[in-house]
Amino acid sequence: MLMVNGLKVTYAGVAEGLRGVDLTVEEGQLVTVLGSNGAGKTTLLRAISNVLNAFNGVVTAGAIDWDGLNLVRTRADRIVSRGLIQAPEGRGIFGGLTVEENLRVGGFLRSRAEQRHQQKRVLDLFPDLSDRLRQHAGLLSGGQQQMLAIGRALMADPKLLLLDEPSLGLAPKLVDDVAAVVQQINQAGTTVVLVEQNASMALSMADYAYVLENGRVSLHGPGAELRDSDEVRRLYLGQGSDDEPDEDTDPVFVGNKEQS
Amino acid sequence: MSELVDTRVAAPAVSTPGARAARRRLPPATLLRGGGLVVAAILVIITPSIAGTWLPVVMNLAAFAVGVVGFNLLYSAGQLSLGHAFFMGLGGFSYAYLSGQNSARTDGLGLDPLLAFVLSALLVGLVGLAFSPLTSRLGGLSLAAATLGLVFLGSHVFGMAERVTGGTSGRVLESMRFGQYELYEARDIWYFVAGVAALAFAFAALISRSRVGLALEAIRDGEHLARGLGINVRRYKAQAFFFSSVYAGVSGILIGLVAGVLVKESFTLYLTMNILMMAILGGASALVVGAVVGTALFIVLPELLRRYGDAIPLLAPEGSVTGLTPAAAATYLFGAAIILILIVEPDGLTALGRRARIRILRSRPRADQSRS
């Protein structure tokens, strides 16, 4: 179980990335974190993977606990070796490496035998990749790169998988494919935290959902419940009863926090 | 002019440590600086009477400091040039050739020394400019690579041009002359060297406060950022390289005038390394003060060890083959100091001093100090 309590993060000592976030992910769940650009979604994932220092960020308050492991004080590679894996924002493919090498890097901390086993599993999930193992990853299409990014994360046999906006820049048809894959991974027993801007896709399958605004959780609840809430419909699903989304709705969100 | 406005507006937003320090020390510094200039002027005037046997050392100090200021101009903009030895040699030997006479071993044009001085400085600047297609395109580290090449090429060219450089035995330089008055005595040479150095320092201070200085500061903080502010990065880098080479050239001439003779073997990679060490010791971000402090340390300490080395138990006498010679001891100290300074305080000794001053100022409550 992943528990985030009162997490605050600042960048370069000044800019506030997170201003006190509470979040819980039960084992086996698929939890989504929604929010617009700059809401702090990626910061949250970086903090969980403990790679903030590379971005000049630092946790100033709060705790992150995963199955008794204090993630704030655990080295990034130890977190990975324990099975908490992140597929980063913008895919982060190694374009100069081949597809197969990308997968190998994903399984860097695993034994050769485990790598072989996982690679077979990944290629079963993404048959497209198996014809392109020796191709440079930079030559893949956007959709294929996203599949590779997820596949690379799977190489480490994750217990908890963090996905940062896998639908970004993909055509609607491909977004559906990604959604199906994410669901499949979750149903096979992996806990998933899905960070998304595409709320309709994320909420359609999430067990539980959080909405981040300005570094705080403004709204949270079971996926289905949030899908039906007026605010989410209006702001994230584009089917509001009011004419158009309004920038100044923050107070309303804070007020709604108790609702769920 | 829009560039000027742009950088001014952007500077507080970026708020680099350097910029913050600059703002912090402004009010008390104007007074300090005025007083400092007066003290410096008096020191320059009385130096020949009080320096005694140290006069040649002090003359060398001034001559080298000019070159170090040139190094700092580039380094404080994030550009590492290792070509200083080449430009210093070029300046020195150009002066030797332009002002010198034809003799059995050497050629010369016999120009008036003052004219030769100006022409040589310009020539070095032009050569610096000629490399600008290279230097303005390359950033920090590849500039270091390219200019490293210049030093070796320079040594080779100096070796080939025996009629200019005098070959392995070197070349005696024509003394500086104003009309009929020849600067032959150490005291006169000192006044000339100190005068030229003072002009060079003043001009460097002007550059660093001008649009060029602001642009270079922005370039150090990130070329992409600077470009985003509308700064013509290549032009300013070329300008910085031009000024830097002129300073190196002038420094080379002054060194020659002090020594009376120039030997091509002086202008190798070691000279570049020495200049670099002087710059880092003092702190390249304090353009002039850093250069003077660093050069003083670098030139005075080995001299102290040489003169009073007998009193230090571990040192072997100068020139001995085994044991720790004063020169080696000084080099150890400087190398270690460079490493330590870069780890502890990248802005050099002057920054340590500045830090101490800020701490003292802070202990007195002042509204504008508490901001930082």
Binding site: A54, A76, I85 | G140, G149, V157, G159, M160, T331, I338
Partner: protein, 295 residues
Amino acid sequence: MADLLQLLVSGLSLGALYGLIALGFVIVFKATGILNFSHGAMLLLGAYVVTRLAHVNFLLAVLAGIAAAVALNLLVERVLVRSMAGRSALAITVMTIGLDVVLMTYARGEINTRVLPMGDPWGATMVSIGAVDIPLSRLVALVVSLVVVAAFFVWFKRSSWGVAFRAATERRDVAPLMGIRLNRLSVVAWVLAGVLAVIAGVFLATFPSSGVNVDLSHVALRAFPAAVIGGLDSTHGAIVGGLMIGTAEILAQGYQSHLEFLGGGFHEVLTYVLMVIVLWFKPAGLFGTQEVNRV
């Protein structure tokens, strides 16, 4: 014709050694973003250790020399480079210049003006291949460097660490998410650089030098342009650059009499001429993918 052939073999042999040294520059640059100006001093000190122990057993001496350089480089990485983490690449580069000053002062104190014989088993033996007579040491140098380079590339292309190394130099931000420790990569790079430097140093001290003297670090510095010509972030560029300048240097030396107008000893600065020319037209080097200017 036989002359030319002989020069070419010598040139390739020297070039392969330059390639090894250049490779050391490149991998440290790729892993840390800095130019390691203490590389030549490290090579000299490693070779110096070899000469001190060569009378016992040459192979053991070489291993000891490698171990010494590796230990020294490890110390440098862990103590000096790491304590400057987060500083600009320029500052760390200048620190290595300070380090070079210290190491060279030590080397000068130890070696002085002496030329210490390498004590290698090849001596002055000549080998005839067809019409070409070649010193055995040059042949061994060529073969050993090619084997070392091949081993490096097998490691670089096939091993997990090699793949991780390439991944991390491409995306420093993503690699830690795969469990790769960037600090470890930096250690690996400095260790490898030390190994490569001493292997090259041992052979450079048999040819073109006839033993270890302090100028050996200057010979090593002549390999620096090889790394720049190939592109500072290109491993195969380092090898190609090394072969290029080695061959050019030996050819220029061999045909010196035709190049008199360029001055005596021109072959010693030829590599710098080539470097400036390449930089003029290709600021990133022949195979470099970026301008050497990391932010």
